[in-house]
């Protein structure tokens, strides 16, 4: 259990470390940077197909994001709780 907490903390440190050691970077998406590389290699490259629908704004996008994170975490936590409870219920806890 303690090992897991250490691993999770380590992951959190790795995630936020860039913001500390490189605070002025833009942190734009790797895909938009790839678009810039394509434009540099082949300046006349144009997408030949455009998305059928796009979220109307950043706010709507973040709404979808929040819903997704909540639903995904819900499934995971249901699973975790189910198994913790099951083990306790069958008296198999260590």
């Amino acid at each position: 259990m303690r090992k897991n907490i250490v691993l999770l903390l380590l992951a959190v440190v790795i995630v936020f470390m860039p913001l500390v050691i490189n605070p002025d970077a833009e942190y734009s998406g790797a895909d938009s940077e790839a678009e810039a590389v394509i434009a540099q290699i082949q300046p006349d490259a144009e997408p030949w197909f455009t998305p059928l629908w796009e979220p109307p704004s950043g706010e709507i996008e973040s709404l979808l994001f929040a819903l997704q994170a909540a639903a995904g975490a819900g499934v995971i936590c249901y699973f975790l709780g189910y198994h913790v409870g099951k083990r306790k219920g069958t008296g198999a806890e260590q």
Binding site: A30, D31, A45, W48
Partner: protein
């Protein structure tokens, strides 16, 4: 039974509202020339068909696996939605498919991956319909294959389980982005340096950014597997993820 239905509904919800990780990795809509789009789609198709059969067989063998499958799917959804900063000064997201590949084999995650990518392309203008084949190949074919292969190989070589899971998940994540770089380099060779010069540029954008994220994904996958070993050992034994007396 109702629990299973509840899970299916939840899973569907997750899929339906899968957000647009605005900062992310997949090849953008319309950016792969048609011949390449078709090429990657055709190559991906057999993995998808085999994956569907594999899911059917797994669930028929033991309907109880559905819950673990939902967990692996949810893990991939959440991880691939987390936009994370990297030391290179840009952002990307992990894939989260390594866990499912280690549990159920690589092609099961091809199916889950294609569902994620399809909804992203349709509802969130991320990735794309025309690049679906290529993106599925990198995230849901190569990534899981590498994760699965490394996990099984490390296990055979006698490495501790934690290390086997870590390297499986982390290198699978990284392999996805290397594949994306190769796909873009093949479609956009540098006018002077050719594919190799392009590849260097795309690897610099995608793969380097991904290194710390791959490490994080590896750590989180180890935690997930540790939990499963202590709380759901019977399923892992039945799926041959771990060996008896492990």
């Amino acid at each position: 039974m109702s629990r299973k239905i509840y899970f299916m509904v939840l899973t569907l919800l997750v899929l339906t509202f899968y957000p647009n990780p605005a900062y992310a990795m997949h090849i953008m809509e319309g950016f792969l020339p048609l011949p390449w789009a078709i090429f990657w789609a055709v190559i991906t198709l057999p993995f998808l068909i085999y994956g569907l059969k594999s899911i059917k067989d797994t669930v028929e063998e033991n309907p109880g696996f559905k819950m673990l499958l939902a967990f692996a799917g949810a893990f991939a959804f959440v991880l691939s939605a987390l936009k994370i900063p990297s030391v290179t000064g840009s952002s990307s997201h992990p894939t989260g498919v390594g866990l499912g590949a280690i549990l159920f084999g690589p092609t099961v995650m091809t199916v889950i991956g294609v569902i994620i990518l399809l909804f992203q392309a349709l509802l969130l203008a991320h990735g794309g319909i025309t690049t679906l084949g290529a993106n599925t190949f990198s995230m849901a074919v190569v990534g899981p294959l590498v994760s699965y292969g490394i996990y099984k190989g490390a296990q055979k070589a006698g490495l501790p389980r934690g290390l086997a899971v870590f390297f499986g998940a982390a290198l699978g994540d990284l392999a996805t982005y290397v594949t994306t770089s190769i796909q873009l380099a093949a479609a956009y060779p540098d006018p002077t340096g050719g594919i190799a010069a392009s590849l260097t540029k795309f690897v610099g954008v995608f793969a380097l950014t991904q290194v710390p994220l791959a490490v994080s994904e590896g750590l989180l996958t180890v935690v997930a597997v540790n939990f499963l070993v202590s709380h759901n050992k019977s399923d892992l034994l039945a799926l041959s993820v771990i060996k008896r007396e492990g």
